[in-house]
């Protein structure tokens, strides 16, 4: 309790200086997600000599481009106080649709990607309409969409992986073109960070999660905004599915299984509140990277995959504990 005096100062509401004063505790609290990431990177590089090699870093970036986008989409839904369980299945839909269009119809791969994204958007809109206008809870509506989308992916692919011809989707993971998916993911991260910070949409989405009644009484049509977050989430999930299909040159209905939970975990590790109204794009991205790095380092250390899940679960608990602990002291400071 060494910061007792600071606490008293802030209780006097008109204290202007305290907000400008440099506080090390506050710095730690504000950046706890990044600190976890940094610690993880340091520990990983000590544990494995291959961790910080360019090849491994590139692998991580290629691997995580998809999950990061899914986490961003999930974040906006979570900000409104909702949840989107359909993202994993929508990754499968995105992968299946784009692969089939390329393989069976010989479609240009860029057009195929765009169509896959539109399909994801439509699925997301469907969930959003159920939530906004059907008064479904997000959990239930997206559970239904998740089941439907998964079924659609299996029907489309007949349950067999679609092997993609060379010179199509593999272009977006090609070194020659400087790994387009990394660039696309980076641009989207920047775009959504700016959207969250500088647009009315970004602000209203957070506001809805804080107090939907107040926002509605302020003359804002909350339903449209809530619906739109599911649409964004669906679109990003489909694109993420394409990324994963591109990396393995295979579209399959099993891509993205369990990814919805990783995306939720990423948001939570990034400090988002499942009650809504709190969370940042960059922190959710950091959360996704934390999960990705944990998987990566355990692979490098040759930990078998089942124990990996156990360890991952405990690391999530630890990260969330840290969030709870620091957000408590945030109130006190």
């Amino acid at each position: 309790m060494s910061n007792e005096p600071i606490r008293n100062l802030n209780n006097g509401m008109s204290d202007i200086n305290s907000t400008k004063k440099f506080s090390f505790t506050k710095l730690l609290i504000d950046n706890n997600t990044y600190i976890i990431l940094l610690i993880l990177i340091i520990v990983s590089s000590l544990l494995s000599s291959t961790f910080l090699t360019p090849i491994n870093i590139r692998n991580i970036a290629l691997q995580q481009a998809g999950p990061v986008l899914v986490a961003i989409g999930m974040l906006f839904v979570i900000l409104t106080g909702g949840i989107d369980l359909s993202v994993g299945s929508l990754m499968a839909v995105g992968a299946s649709v784009s692969s089939l269009l390329i393989k069976d119809l010989g479609m240009n791969f860029i057009l195929a990607i765009l169509i896959a994204m539109v399909v994801g958007l439509i699925f997301g809109l469907f969930t959003g309409i159920l939530v906004s206008y059907g008064n479904f809870q997000g959990f239930v509506a997206s559970l239904a969409t998740m089941t439907i989308a998964s079924g659609v992916a299996f029907v489309l692919t007949n349950g067999t992986p679609v092997i993609l011809p060379a010179g199509t989707l593999d272009n977006i993971v090609d070194k020659k073109f400087f790994f387009p998916i990394i660039i696309i993911a980076a641009l989207l991260i920047i775009l959504f960070t700016l959207i969250q910070r500088y647009t009315g949409w970004g602000r209203i989405v957070i506001a809805i999660g804080s107090n939907p009644t107040a926002v509605q009484l302020a003359g804002i049509q909350t339903k449209r905004y809530i619906m739109s977050t599911y649409a964004v989430s669906g679109l990003l999930a489909a694109l993420a599915g394409v990324f994963i299909a591109a990396r393995s040159a295979t579209g399959s209905a099993t891509i993205g299984t369990g990814q919805e939970l990783d995306a939720i975990a990423a948001c939570v590790i990034g400090g988002a509140s499942l009650a809504g109204g709190k969370g940042f794009v960059i922190k959710a991205v950091a959360g996704a990277l934390i999960l990705g790095l944990i998987g990566n380092i355990m692979n490098l250390m040759a930990v078998p995959s089942y124990p990996q899940d156990i360890i991952k679960g405990f690391i999530i608990i630890a990260a969330v504990f840290l969030q709870i602990f620091t957000s408590k002291s945030e109130k006190a400071v």
């Binding site: 009315g200 926002v215 109204g277």
Partner: protein
């Protein structure tokens, strides 16, 4: 000191953030007495009772029950000490039966399993004691009338063998004959040696029922007097304890043309055939008891709820706002009564809150101009002398009064021509009240038509050009400024 006190609360203090809700407050309740606790809204009655009930923790002071100092750390510990509270909002589980509700914290008497027969018999016995043997213990509580739900609440307290029962505004939701019945039950409880703490705004009830009265004002203890030794006027003087006129600043508004006319408005069974009008620069008060349908009428006009029928003329044109968005677009604002639940985004910054209803002003193609917004908010807040650290601080870092000013600022920013203020000073300390009145006056002086819903009669009298009184969904009268008095308001509000 004689020690026939069941409950003694000594020097109780409690702060919420920067607001002193209670300062050195004292309350002594004897065995088998009916002790009334009165004071204006915000005087600290509820806070004191919540401390007694374990819902809040006191900052300072002692609580003595049956001569022993006790620590009340949770509602459970209060119950174990024999203290029960019947809140305005009942703490009943509507989908459970009467019997289950009465014994909710003691369902299993012996062994591991619920003995339904025994439970029913015990419930029946408890209900019969109060003369309500006709309530079926097997019926779901949600299907009972409000008055009967209250009986179930009382049985619940008795089942816990409560020594002290706090009634918080128990008659607000009851009809006249139900009130009579409740009073006879309360007297019977007194006969049985139970102590009653009775909170009510209705002075007549206190004089009819209570043995002693403790008066609180602005979080401070004023006096405890035997009811028989004081007149109504003396009591009011103690409660108010200040010149009303000082609290309400002067207003020089020109009352102009009619802005809003509402004719024969019906909303569900809460609002029946309500008609009124508001002119520019005019402050029209809506008085009445809680649940009189005032808020419901305004919400329907604002487009937050659906109206069943009725005509709304706004600047001479018939309108029918389908959503708050439409209303606000047309310059019709609404400050909701509960700022925590409906007014503010507590976890968001002051800046975000202040511009929530006027975002179109600070954005282009949905891109927010942050610099413009900051300057705008700072200017806005200084014009209504709000105290804050930084506009980036969360709204919940402010005191109640300043929070309310932020909620008001939201509507100032939205350039309204007609605004409804629903209980604008609830839970706000006296100093901040005057400042809120100043803001309302300024708006009126700028020609805004103002509707002020308030359950505080002093506020209606001090602020309004005209008051409309509602009772059970119906307008029971309209009083001009020259004839505004508590007496006239009460008569219309209570239908006597």
């Amino acid at each position: 000191m004689q020690n026939d006190c069941v409950v003694e609360m000594m020097n109780i203090s409690k702060n919420f953030g920067g607001v002193k809700a209670l300062q050195d407050v004292m309350l002594k309740v004897k065995k088998g007495e009916i002790h009334a606790l009165i004071g204006e809204n915000g005087a600290g009655k509820s806070t004191l009772m919540k401390i007694l009930a374990g819902a809040y923790q006191k900052d300072k002071g002692q609580i003595i029950i049956d001569g022993q100092e006790v620590k009340i750390t949770s509602p459970k510990s209060a119950m174990d000490l024999g203290v029960s509270v019947i809140y305005q909002e009942f703490m009943l589980a509507p989908d459970l039966t009467v019997a289950e509700n009465i014994f909710i914290d003691n369902l299993v008497n012996h062994g591991m399993f619920l003995n339904w027969k025994d439970l029913r018999a015990r419930a029946k016995e408890q209900l019969s004691k109060l003369g309500f043997g006709d309530i079926d213990p097997d019926v779901k509580v949600g299907t009972l009338s409000v008055a009967r739900q209250q009986i179930v609440e009382i049985c619940k307290c008795l089942a816990r063998k409560s020594k002290v029962i706090v009634f918080d505004e128990p008659t607000a939701v009851l009809t006249f004959s139900e009130i009579k019945k409740l009073f006879s039950i309360i007297r019977q409880l007194k006969e049985d040696g139970v102590s009653i703490i009775y909170i009510s705004h209705r002075l007549e009830e206190l004089f009819e029922l209570s043995d002693n009265i403790t008066v609180l004002k602005d979080g401070k203890y004023i006096d405890t007097v035997p009811t028989a030794s004081i007149t109504k006027e003396e009591l009011v003087a103690k409660m108010v304890g200040r010149q009303i006129m000082q609290l309400f600043p002067e207003r020089q508004a020109k009352i102009g043309d009619e802005i809003l006319r509402v004719e024969h408005l019906h909303v569900g069974d809460m609002v029946t055939d309500v008609s009124f009008s508001v002119r520019s620069g005019e402050v029209v008060g809506f008085s009445g008891l809680v649940g009189a349908g005032r808020t419901e009428a305004m919400r329907a006009i604002f487009g937050a709820d659906k109206k069943d029928s009725g005509k709304i003329l706004y600047f001479g044109k018939e309108v029918n706002f389908k959503s708050p968005k439409q209303a606000i677009k047309n310059g019709f604002g609404f400050l909701p009564e509960d700022r925590k639940a409906q007014g503010l985004l507590l976890e968001q910054s002051i800046r975000v809150n202040a511009t929530l209803a006027s975002m179109r002003k600070i954005k282009k193609f949905d891109i927010i101009g942050h610099k413009k917004e900051k300057d705008y908010v700072k200017q806005l807040l200084s014009s209504i002398s709000t105290k804050y650290g930084s506009i980036e601080d969360n709204a919940n870092s402010l005191s109640g009064g300043n929070q309310q000013k932020i909620a008001l600022a939201k509507w100032l920013a939205a350039d309204c021509k007609c605004i409804v203020f629903d209980e604008p000073t609830r839970g706000v300390d006296v100093g901040a009240k005057t400042e809120i009145y100043k803001i309302i006056n300024r708006l009126a002086e700028e020609g805004v038509g103002i509707i002020m819903i308030s359950s505080e009669m002093t506020e209606i009298i001090g602020m309004c050009d005209r008051a409309i009184v509602m009772r059970q969904g119906v307008v029971t009268g309209e009083i001009n400024k020259s004839e505004l008095s508590e007496n006239n308001l009460i008569k219309l509000a209570m239908g006597v």
